[in-house]
Amino acid sequence: MIIIGCGGLGSSIAGQLSAAGNNVVVVDRDREAFKKLPPEFSGFTIMTEVIGKSALVDSKIEQAHILIASTDDDNTNIMIAQIAKMIYHVPKVIARVFEPSRMRVYKDLDIETISPTILAASVVSDSILNEGDVES
């Protein structure tokens, strides 16, 4: 599996999936970013100038079953996810999209999007509502 973007989210996922025995390739523009990878990570890292199609080819996307686009830029994630899905037919593609309104455009594509904003909001409201003693 391929993870694009080795920030907080990307590096944590990479560590967890690698520890679970998966073959993980992590791609980032910044060599320093790989320092965030936890000790349990035992996969490959690829440093690339431009996050685009050629970086995906370098990370052997033809063989990938899963791609996670988790850079800090929504539009880069959306672009990478579409290249993975539409050009390389990667079975499972997940993109992080911070801005929920952008997800509307891509809802009919077979790409899973996760919005930290929506996730955090639902965790907070669930926590409040489940206490059951909310008064206006």
């Binding site: 431009v50 685009g52 199609k53 050629s54 830029d73 929504d74 539009n75 880069t76 959306i78 672009m79 990478i80 579409q82 290249i83 539409m86 050009i87 801005e99 309104s101 952008r102 509307r104 455009v105």
Partner: protein
Amino acid sequence: MKAYFLAKNLISMGYSVTMINKNKEDALQLAKIDRATVVHGDATLPEILEDAGTHTADVVVALTSSDPDNLVICQTAARLFGVRKTVAIVNDPGNVEVFKTLGIDYVVSTVRTISSLIQQSVGNETIMNLTPVEEGKVMILEVDVNTEDPISGKQLNLFEMPHEAIIGCIIREGKPIIPRGDTTVSPGDRLIILSLPQVQSATLSAIKRKVD
């Protein structure tokens, strides 16, 4: 500020132009253009495109310096607002095919455009004209034949040149000839050659005398 000059040009041609820029200073600068409408905001967000009246637009042109932004702008315009024609600029030439596959109608690579302009101006004594077709996948070359060129006086089926190139037409004394294998090339002919870009220089060096 590519948008500044493009907008001025289009407005002078009678088009109604709305520009979106996420930098406030740039947006204020653009607003000085006569008859232009400017929206300050991130055009990759549906709500900003909506504010700009994208649903009424015939064409959306994405000119930002970020390729992913340009992709998202064009796709949002087409999918959410029904814009029929989308144009995107790309920095990475590899994105030309990618964007076309992902549904962008016109993709312009500045790198490819400038490269082909340079190719046209360099060695223009040899190549009279060079036209890229399909974003440079095929090149049309126009070459004038001189007495000292290897191809001069040769019959085409006896002349060796790369397989990925073909002489499609000969202009002789102003008249076009569609050449066959038994056609002989004469000095003064202009050859119109179809060539894949990778054999373009090999084709030229087969046809033309080496210029040192």
